[in-house]
Amino acid sequence: MFQLHGWEALLFYFLAFMTLVMAVFVVTARLAIHSALFLIATLVEISLLFILLRAEFVAGVQILVYVGGVMVLFLFVIMLVQTRAEEESRVKLYNSQSVLAYIVAALLAASFYFAVYPAQTAFRPPDNSASAAVAEEGVAGQSGTGLISKDTQNVGEALYRQAALPFEIASLLLLVAMVGAVWLARTTKQEKKGYE
């Protein structure tokens, strides 16, 4: 069974706590730009959690695509559409259904608790050492020789062998999204130019 020991366990609790705190700050920040910076912190911490789970490739993709791409896009849009209205304290940040929203969120949390609590013992690592030895061997075989992880190789092989068609469809989706974004964000001047 995969298990985090010692310092890794401590690091997990620290990262989990910081992720949740930063996520709360994302939702409650007054200015959109602060929200974006807190979201960057959350994404970096989630990628560190991925590294704890030995998913190095996904962690790298998370940093490159989310922090390097999507968040820069967010910051550009915040720069373009800032109204400076939120800096005044009288502006409403939450809509009229916010109390209802928190009740719904609390109900979701309660439903998760009642769903997981009976099953909690099932997720505990098994005590018999024979199966644990087999699992350790499997993990060691996956991680390859030496310190270099084989995670990237495994994910790449899975992407190109088992998921080749969805991979191509994803590239097409990105192309369509790019063209659509450019088409949607034209100015009226550019629009008129296009019709002539």
């Binding site: 985090l4 929200s35 989630i46 998913a55 996904v58 809509n95 929203a101 495994n154 450019v182 949607l184």
Partner: protein, 143 residues
């Protein structure tokens, strides 16, 4: 009174002695449930943000939080499944593919990037026409 307190302390001490030090520490080591808790709390925070905020850009960021919660859940499940793959095969004759989690995560990241690009383009064109990013002022399609 003192004897009662002493006996309580003694029983605690005996409890601590009875459980070996390793298992006492192991009880606090994170397992799949802890990763599920983190991802679910992240999901709930995202849901609360989507439902309660007025700024449309912050709503988009909450959607990113939700997608990241799903990613974390997928990766945690795939990793814990990978380490018990052999056990599943031997005891229950179930073949599992632990790489489905990372592959799905990469597709989710791709879809999130596309969604953010198109959504933010819509925000820009909306701001150009209506001069607002507050969702309760954008009610043209409401009856």
């Amino acid at each position: 009174m003192e004897t009662l307190a002493f006996s309580i302390l003694q029983s605690f001490y005996l409890l601590l002695l009875q459980t070996p030090a390793e298992s006492r520490l192991q009880r606090f080591e994170p397992s799949l449930v802890n990763f599920m808790m983190v991802s679910f709390l992240l999901f709930i925070i995202g849901v609360a943000g989507v439902l309660s905020r007025r700024n449309i850009i912050i709503i988009f960021m909450s959607i990113e939080l939700i997608l990241n919660a799903v990613n974390l859940n997928l990766i945690a499940f795939s990793r814990y499944l990978q380490s018990s793959q052999e056990i599943y095969k031997q005891s229950k004759n179930i073949t599992v593919s632990p790489l489905t989690g990372p592959v799905f995560t990469i597709f989710i990241i791709v879809v999130a990037a596309a969604e953010a690009a198109v959504g933010l383009a819509i925000v820009i064109s909306l701001f150009r026409n209506r001069e607002t990013v507050e969702i309760d002022e954008i009610d043209l399609l409401k009856w």
